[in-house]
């Protein structure tokens, strides 16, 4: 019986040693979801992914070139994790690659520094200004806001008033305050730390765009078997 236990623990220790050995050449990578670059450089692994690896792979692994950007490339390049694993296994044949997180990185090449043109900005500003003003006029006409205000004024005071400005001027400023409250901004100052709905909306929109690009621009993710 004792003999058995000794042999069993030995076997177990061997097993553990083997696992440690396995661990010793496992590379963990986590692809970044977005990489932005200004130049057509070669993209190294450390630029496009987070790496955890045993010491023997440094510094070769982080500086491994996984993607070469060419002038002919579009503004967006999708780097699939399969491509990255392929390159790693060519250079380090004895390693095991474990991937965590996103399965592709979107590389955006920013052509030139975006300069916001002042006239364009002014046009958009005026467009939004007049448009939202017109929209509120239309809304008030449609729901007969004037009559409602007149009646509300009468209900409260008991006096007929064709122009209940005492009610209507605070109402007008209230509209603006309500919108600011909703978007959680008073110019640059915020009420609390939470992101505003607009920021979440911007984030979601970017996320949707990235999702589209990740599948549409990735040549490997759609395959047509009939070849037409």
């Amino acid at each position: 019986m004792k003999q058995y236990w000794v042999s069993h623990t030995k076997w177990k220790r061997n097993q553990e040693m083997q696992e440690v050995k396995m661990m010793a050449n496992t590379i963990y990578i986590r692809m970044r979801s977005r990489v932005e670059t200004k130049k057509y450089n070669n993209i190294t692994l450390s630029q496009t992914a987070q790496i955890i690896a045993p010491d023997q792979y440094f510094p070769g692994l982080p500086n491994l070139i996984v993607c070469e950007l060419k002038k002919a490339d579009n503004q967006l390049v999708v780097l699939d994790v399969m491509h990255v694993i392929n390159i790693i296994s060519v250079h380090f044949p004895d390693c095991e690659v474990q991937t965590i997180g996103p399965t592709q990185t979107i590389i955006e090449i920013i052509r030139e520094k975006k300069i916001t043109s002042i006239p364009l900005f002014l046009i958009v500003w005026l467009l939004l200004f007049t448009g939202s003003g017109l929209a509120i006029l239309n809304f008030h006409e449609e729901v007969s806001m004037q009559i409602v205000h007149q009646k509300l004024y009468w209900i409260i005071t008991g006096q007929e008033n064709v122009k209940p400005l005492l009610l209507q001027i605070p109402y007008s400023f209230g509209i603006g305050m309500g919108m600011i409250l909703f978007f959680n901004h008073i110019f640059k100052k915020r009420f609390n730390e939470e992101p505003s709905p607009l920021e979440i909306e911007m984030f979601n929109y970017q996320q949707d765009l990235d999702h589209y690009v990740a599948i549409k621009e990735n040549n490997e993710s759609v395959k047509r078997l009939d070849g037409d």
Partner: protein
């Protein structure tokens, strides 16, 4: 006679049900109440807010249908009521803009992501100006 009364009552009830549920659905889609609780950190009072909306709708509907006046000629109360009406309409308008997803797309298309806040202020000021313009000039021309 009885049939007529019952029919009218049923019709009124049905109409009220449709309008009331539509109103609540509209508020839910726009998410104004969650937004307010998030701003004030009073999420536990959400049930009270639900009752506020229901009671507000029922009471003002009733007062509107009866021809009663409160005869409170105090300008401060009128100003406050006007301000609160405006705040609510403003939040409705902001929520509607957000649901329609106008600003993110517009600002990204023309590359004005940095000026997002200024564009927002354009809409806000446009609303204030448009509303004032209507009461002070447009309706009396």
């Amino acid at each position: 006679m009885v049939i007529e009364i019952v029919a009218v009552i049923l019709l009124g009830l049905a109409g009220g049900l449709a309008v009331g549920s539509g109103f609540v659905a509209f508020l839910t889609v726009l998410g104004i109440i969650p937004r307010l609780t998030q701003l004030t950190k009073t999420g536990r009072m959400i049930q009270a807010y639900e009752w506020a909306v229901i009671l507000g709708a029922v009471c003002s509907g009733w007062v509107d249908l009866r021809d009663h006046s409160l005869h409170m000629n105090i300008s401060l109360i009128i100003i406050l009521i006007g301000l609160f009406c405006g705040l609510f309409i403003g939040m409705l308008a902001a929520a509607l803009t957000e649901v329609l997803n106008v600003i993110p797309i517009l600002s990204k298309r023309i590359g004005l992501e940095q000026q997002l806040l200024t564009l927002l202020m354009a809409i806000v000021l446009g609303k204030i100006f448009g509303s004032l313009f209507q009461w002070l000039y447009f309706n009396h021309v």
